[in-house]
């Protein structure tokens, strides 16, 4: 294919995002007063999603920059997924952020995610990962309403930097042992018994664990999630997590794993499932609870890598979709409140079913789904992962993981308890839901029903 065409067409979603970013900056410089950047960024996001989907359904496959960036159906589908998940996140951000700064940061981060999901070597992988993460440090701080935000953003920044360093060390060890930085090379090395290569693998996996908040690299997540504004928390829990995991699929591909790698990918995620689910039981803030829940979900997601190669992408993609939709649904339905800290306190959600039945039912559906209780989408997603793990012959890991997921049921039910079973506590007056949040809620609900009723359409 003509290289110019490959760059222009193949990277169309990236171009759309970049164009929007430039436009936003230009208007912001020119504008004399506050202006609403939402329509422009929303439009860019929708077009970028559509472009990715079009490239995917056209089966487009090309390398705009050979050995560095590769546009293939997996990449375009991953991008479409990430961008589509970002749409409702953008909608719920309307209530907290009207400044274009937020939109510029969000689109930049998504641009990074797109580069990440096309990467073919550790150079572009690193570039994409950093471009995706860096704006988020600022986004955590953007809603600077209380001192903890600064502390959390700093913690996130330092640990994110550690992840970067770890990834770079892993990549350089890999280069040292095999003389190549390509991801294909990494996949070949995965079965190697060479100590240096194994160190490299361990470091790269550790970097991904750090970014996805897997025990014992999870400590940043609860603080960052709690201190950020609700849309930013949603963005971190949904889009960033999906980006990291889909990038991991790109990294591991369909490669076979050595037993050393399998143990890394089984025990730490298992610890993550158990610890995330246990720690979530004690939380009083919904955001902090979701942080621990996302630590547990990162565990399930990395379990997917135990499965045989071909099923990994499907399992992770379906899981991040179902999990993402449910998380956004919960946060989109969360009633607004002028007091950001009080907004998601469980005690303030008590008796919500009596005041706002619709919001309560939506959060309830999200909780049941996150707990993996059928017939909600979370169940099919979890089923797919454990099915693959068992099919690969790791019966014991699958059973342990399932038992770990059982522990998680309790704290999701605890939220339902507060919503439905406690009597009304009108201490905090919630502001009526905006139509943007309502729109996001409806989008997620429709998506959830579609995923739940017609999973066959998405799978296979």
């Amino acid at each position: 294919m003509n290289p110019v065409v490959a760059v222009v067409i193949g990277m169309l979603p990236e171009h759309i995002l970049l164009g929007a970013i430039v436009l936003l900056i230009a208007i912001e410089i020119a504008a004399k007063r506050r202006w609403n950047a939402l329509p422009l960024s929303l439009l860019a996001l929708v077009f970028a999603t559509a472009a990715s989907l079009a490239l995917y359904s056209g089966g487009f496959g090309t390398a705009p920059f050979p050995d560095q960036l590769m546009v293939d159906p997996t990449a375009t589908l991953s991008k479409a997924l990430i961008l589509a998940l970002a749409i409702p996140v953008l909608l719920i951000s309307r209530d907290d952020f009207v400044e274009p700064q937020f939109h510029i940061l969000l689109l930049s981060s998504l641009y990074g995610a797109c580069v990440l999901l096309s990467s073919e070597s550790f150079l572009t992988l690193f570039l994409g990962l950093e471009l995706m993460s860096l704006p988020v440090y600022a986004m955590v701080l953007l809603a600077y309403r209380r001192p903890e935000s600064a502390e959390a953003a700093l913690k996130y920044l330092v640990l994110g930097g550690t992840a970067t360093a770890t990834l770079l060390m892993g990549a350089s060890l890999l280069y040292g042992s095999s003389g190549s930085l390509s991801l294909a090379n990494f996949r070949e090395v995965l079965t190697s018994t060479d100590v240096m290569a194994q160190m490299a693998i361990a470091l790269v996996i550790a970097a991904f664990f750090l970014k996805a908040a897997v025990v014992p690299f999870h400590a940043w997540a609860p603080d960052a999630y709690e201190a950020a504004a609700v849309p930013v928390t949603t963005y971190m829990a949904v889009v960033i997590k999906a980006g990291v995991l889909l990038a991991a699929v790109r990294l591991f591909g369909t490669a076979e794993l050595s037993s050393f790698t399998v143990e890394l990918l089984a025990w730490l995620p298992l610890a993550s499932i158990v610890w995330g689910n246990l720690a979530a039981m004690r939380q009083e803030s919904l955001r902090r609870m979701i942080a621990y829940s996302s630590i547990a979900h990162a565990g399930y997601l990395f379990y997917a890598f135990l499965g045989e190669g071909a099923g990994r992408f499907e399992a992770v993609a379906f899981y991040v979709l179902a999990y993402g939709v449910m998380n956004v649904l919960a946060f989109a339905a969360l009633p607004r409140n002028d007091d950001d800290v009080a907004r998601d306190r469980l005690q303030h959600l008590s008796g919500l079913a009596y005041r706002k039945p619709f919001a309560a039912v939506m959060i309830g559906i999200a909780m049941f789904s996150l707990a993996g209780i059928p017939p909600f989408p979370g169940f099919v997603a979890k089923f797919l992962i454990f099915k693959n793990v068992m099919a690969a012959g790791y019966t014991a890991y699958a059973v342990l993981g399932l038992v770990g997921s059982y522990i998680g049921i309790y704290f999701y039910l605890r939220v339902i308890q507060h919503l439905f079973m406690k009597e009304e506590q009108p201490a905090v007056v919630a502001v009526a839901a905006s139509r943007y949040a309502l729109g996001a809620t409806v989008i997620c609900l429709v998506a959830a029903v579609l995923i739940g009723v017609f999973p066959g359409w998405l799978l296979g």
Partner: protein, 520 residues
Amino acid sequence: MAEATLLNTVLFLPLVGIAAIVALPAGADRLVRAISLAVMLLQFVLVAWLYVRYDASASGLQFETRIPWIPSWGVYYQIGLDGYNILLVMLTAFLAPLVVASAFNAITKQQKLFYSMVFLIQFAMLGTFLAQDLFVFYLFWEAMLIPLFLIIGIWGGERRIYATLKFVLYTAFGSILMLAAVIYLVYSLYTTTGITSFAFADLYRAQLPLTVQTVLLAAFALSFAIKVPMVPLHTWLPDAHVEAPTAGSVILAGVLLKVGTYGFMKLGFPLFPDATRMLAPLFGTLAVISIIYGACLALVQTDIKKIIAYSSISHLGYVMLGLISLNLLGIQGALIQMVSHGVVAAGLFLMVGMIYERCHTRELAAYGGLARILPIYSMFFGILTLAAIGLPTTSGFTGEFLALLGAFVAAWPLHQQGNSYPLFVSVSAVLGVVLGALYMLVFAQRFLFGAVKAPHQPFTDLSGREKAILVAIVVAVFALGLYPDEPMRKTEMAARQFQQLVSEQRIAAPIAAVVSKEER
């Protein structure tokens, strides 16, 4: 296939009901109740029509629907009526209008949500019975948790949150292990035969080594035994019953517990026949322990709801005993006993609910001599007491008698061969009949006779609505007691099929399994 469409209509009618009542404006509570009752009655009429149309002489599924749902996994949306589920579907549809009608005065808050949840659990229970695909079965099986969790948790008594969490955490634990077993079973079927299928009919052909069968049976059995519940996994039941609103108790005792025994019959035992035969003495023993222990506990309770809750444990022990006897009489007895207990226990819980609405206490000591102040109530209560004891002409007699008879018939040849343990177990079960009579009669005696005492007097006897509910129950009790022939004919083919499936040899040669795994 008009009937197949009708069966799908029956299954999805509750969802239509939810849509109808959610669309109503707030405050239209009367209309919500009326619509709920009307939908449930319509559902019963449709099910009754299907029951009449069901051909008892044909084996296999009738009115079947089978459409691909998740093609890449081999999951089909497959439902149908057969001898296993026809009585239970009938029972579910029969009790639903009574549940709705019983809640008219008792449920005053969040009525829309309440009736939506009743519809939802109706949908889930019917789906569990009708599903012929393990994946679909599991979805419905788990989906039953959510509405009951909310029904107990929102409209329950003082300790409702404790009770409802205990209920969910108990049952969910069983389900998780069952899920692992389901995946393993389906995967084993794939490695040995190359078929990816969740259909019951395919899974019945899965050949597995005995140890694998035993482990998988244990996982399924844990889940089902928690639901039944069998001693020692029963401790959630009294709490759930006591804290649940009347409607919740009726659903729980009437239908939900049968899902456990149905699971054993449809899945647990026939999927793993070799392990089942090996473990039959264990299941028989647990069943008899449930019968006797449940009865003993019922004898010493002071809370009237708890008496009936523990009696449920005892009565479902007969079901398990009949099933595990693997004898045609016993199996049919178990099926009749499931329905009979569903009707009688539901009736008793309804009556407890009625008196609770009047007197606001469940302490047995607070009552006495109700026969004098509530004659009509007491008459119904007397009939249900006798049915619970299992007096001939009532439904309880047919089921218990056949289950016990089946156990004896199965145990006798073994006794002659020198293995007397099954006979000992079967004989011990008779003790349960005596204890059953004892606790119910003592209960009725203290409750209905003696000096008149009851808090919050004066109150009126049964209203027209309450009478209608109880008349329906009593008619069902006598219909099953006097004409057990009809339901037994409908279930005979299924009982034979169950017997045949469980007597199959399905131990896989371990070498074959290894070879096929390597080939893959």
